[in-house]
């Protein structure tokens, strides 16, 4: 009986060691399920089995005979899959960026947009919308490119404004971020209202509320490596993010090169955010709430939190976008509205139920 007890303990220990892997596998399976459901539903529904068969056929390794309409294949590969995958990428990028910013800034209101990325992106996009020219580079329009550059430019500005004597204190950065955001947003709204073109208002608002429609494969081929690569790098920084939860001083005592790591984490988070923004506009809420929700359920260890938030954020946006295009079909609800409407009640439920206490 004693031997059995020992065995159980050993098994339990191993199970606990593999807990991280099991949770991530489960979340990965959940994401795949969401992708499948979202690809299946829409104005024309396609059976999940057909989707799997068509996708496997594309790999060239399988050759299932067609049990579907030829139009179904066009809808799946030209419209639905790019959109669903774009949603997953945006969700994963914003949720990971949220984890990075919350972990570094130790501020519960931190999200991917907190140090100016959103205002910079909106500012850049608005200028692009007002310009009388339009072109596409690698199938990205001028607006997307301007949003990407605007987001990174704003962070660069904020970081340098907050920098004093070789150090960039976190509080200065938050305040500089707030000031720069306020100014860029004000100028943007001035341009939109004084721009003289009625469609400008509409376009700017669409950008502010976000959408993953109209993404094509070329865009995904460029953005996917950026986002997935960014998340992989972020995962390597997880140990340092854990050290940062003791604050900058505490992290320094643990041998962290604080200013250098801060710059790396900020750049990575901003790059992920900018990549997401340039395919979707500003999708709010996911980058704030998904990291909090995952932390409440799985705990604050960034080694699990970061990949888990990325997978959950991806699944969340895929589902939100599914609702966005089906609830009031044929018209679409902006995805930013849905993320808040679905996400907020769920988050409040978690906040009230949880045992893990916050002490920001």
């Amino acid at each position: 009986m004693f031997a059995l007890g020992n065995k159980t303990i050993k098994m339990f220990t191993r199970l606990k060691q593999n807990r991280r892997l099991l949770i991530l596998l489960a979340l990965g399976a959940l994401l795949l399920l969401c992708l499948l459901i979202a690809a299946a539903l829409g104005a024309v529904s396609i059976s999940a089995l057909d989707i799997i068969k068509m996708t496997l056929n594309k790999t060239g390794l399988f050759d299932f005979s067609a049990t579907w309409q030829p139009s179904a294949e066009t809808i799946l590969f030209q419209l639905r899959l790019p959109r669903v995958i774009a949603g997953a990428l945006v969700g994963a990028a914003l949720a990971s960026a949220g984890v990075l910013f919350q972990g570094l800034l130790r501020n519960p209101m931190a999200d991917p947009y907190i140090i100016g990325t959103s205002a910079g992106a909106a500012f850049g996009a608005t200028i692009a919308m007002m310009l009388p020219i339009s072109f596409a580079f690698l199938s990205f329009g001028l607006v997307s490119i301007a949003a990407f550059l605007g987001a990174l430019g704003a962070v660069f500005l904020v970081y340098n404004l907050a920098r004093v004597g070789g150090k960039t204190p976190i509080v200065s950065m938050l305040l500089a971020g707030f000031a720069v955001s306020a100014m860029l947003t004000a100028v943007m709204f001035f341009m939109v209202t004084r721009g003289g073109r009625p469609e400008l208002l509409h376009n700017a608002f669409s950008f502010l509320m976000g959408s993953v429609s109209g993404t094509d494969w070329t865009q995904i081929a460029i953005i996917a490596p950026l986002i997935i690569g960014g998340i992989v790098v972020a995962r390597f920084l997880a140990f340092r993010l854990n050290a940062f939860s003791l604050g900058e001083e505490g992290a320094a005592y643990l041998g962290i090169n604080v200013e250098r790591e801060k710059l790396i984490i900020l750049s990575l988070g901003s790059l992920l955010t900018a990549a997401a923004v340039c395919i979707s506009g500003l999708v709010g809420f996911v980058g704030l709430v998904v990291p909090h929700a995952v932390r409440l359920v799985l705990g604050p260890d960034h080694r699990l939190l970061l990949p888990a938030a990325a997978l959950s954020g991806a699944a969340f946006i895929v589902l939100a976008d599914l609702f966005a295009r089906t609830v009031l079909a044929p018209s679409e609800i902006p995805i930013g509205i849905l993320t808040a409407i679905i996400g907020a009640p769920f988050f409040i439920y978690l906040l009230r139920r949880t045992r893990r206490e916050y002490a920001f």
């Binding site: 130790r106 390597f236 854990n242 041998g255 206490e357 916050y358």
Partner: protein, 261 residues
């Protein structure tokens, strides 16, 4: 172990330390005493390497401190601050595991060795039963022991204490200092601590450095340094110094102002 040569430091042109010369040998237990603003904490930050001196040099085991990689320094020098604020719900075990950070490279994960050190340390400090409790739900004394455990998980040769017992009840103060003292005695752990309480310093530390306005006022064994005259001059407080009836360490008594009996 650690040698300071002519070290000066200012925060934004406000001078804090002036020409400090100091050598601490392996196995010593040194208290830094002095009023608020005398430079105790700054001196500890310089020795831990998170601040760099404006002038002068600090040598750690023969190498210049500012030229050693931060990660390497943290494998040798650990700091116990007054307190840490912890925004996230880490368990005590997870907080102590943070002490293993300097031993990880980008690609390595915590392994058996790390968990063994954590287990050893929390058993040594007597907080193994609290391992799965949330750090933020622990009492002040338990939290401070956890932070001491985290510092010890760095397997340091030099332990720096920045008023580690300032917020604690007398029983926890004594417990923490007893622990540090036994590590000093049994494992030759070098300890430098900024201490507020003169009597605790006299009881637990073998060597006292009195700081006044960023300069070393006196340096030596408690009985020689902690005199009525020195305390009067450094702290501007008049005290009586007697002898602890058991340990024979100097014992400092204060009398309320205007006391007439």
């Amino acid at each position: 172990m650690i040698i300071l040569k002519h070290v000066s430091f200012s925060y934004n042109n406000t001078p804090v330390l002036h020409h400090i010369d100091l050598a601490v040998k392996k196995g010593e237990m040194v208290a830094l005493l002095g009023p608020n603003g005398s430079g105790k904490t700054t001196l500890l930050k310089l020795v831990s390497g998170v601040l760099r001196p404006n002038w002068g040099e600090i040598h750690l085991d023969g190498s210049i401190l500012s030229q050693i990689k931060r990660r390497k320094v943290a494998q040798c020098v650990a700091v116990v601050p007054q307190q840490f604020s912890m925004p996230f719900a880490f368990t005590l075990g997870e907080v102590v595991l943070l002490g293993r950070t300097p031993f990880h490279s980008l690609f390595s994960n915590d392994g058996e060795q790390d968990h063994r050190v954590v287990q050893q340390v929390i058993e040594c400090i007597g907080i193994a039963a609290l391992k799965e409790r949330f750090f933020n739900e622990l009492s002040g004394g338990e939290r401070q022991k956890a932070i001491l455990a985290m510092a010890l998980a760095q397997e340091p040769k030099l332990l720096l204490l920045d008023e580690p017992t300032a917020h604690l009840d007398i029983n926890h103060q004594v417990e923490i200092l007893d622990l540090v003292k036994s590590l000093n005695r049994e494992q030759w752990l070098t300890v430098i601590g900024a201490v507020h309480d003169l009597n605790l310093a006299a009881l637990y530390f073998d060597r006292i450095i009195l700081l006044k306005e960023g300069r070393i006022f006196d340096d030596g064994p408690p009985a020689e340094v902690l005199t009525e005259k020195a305390i009067e001059e450094v702290f501007s407080a008049s005290v009586l110094v007697t002898e602890h009836p058991v340990t024979k360490a100097p014992h400092i008594l204060i009398t309320p102002k205007g006391y007439t009996g």
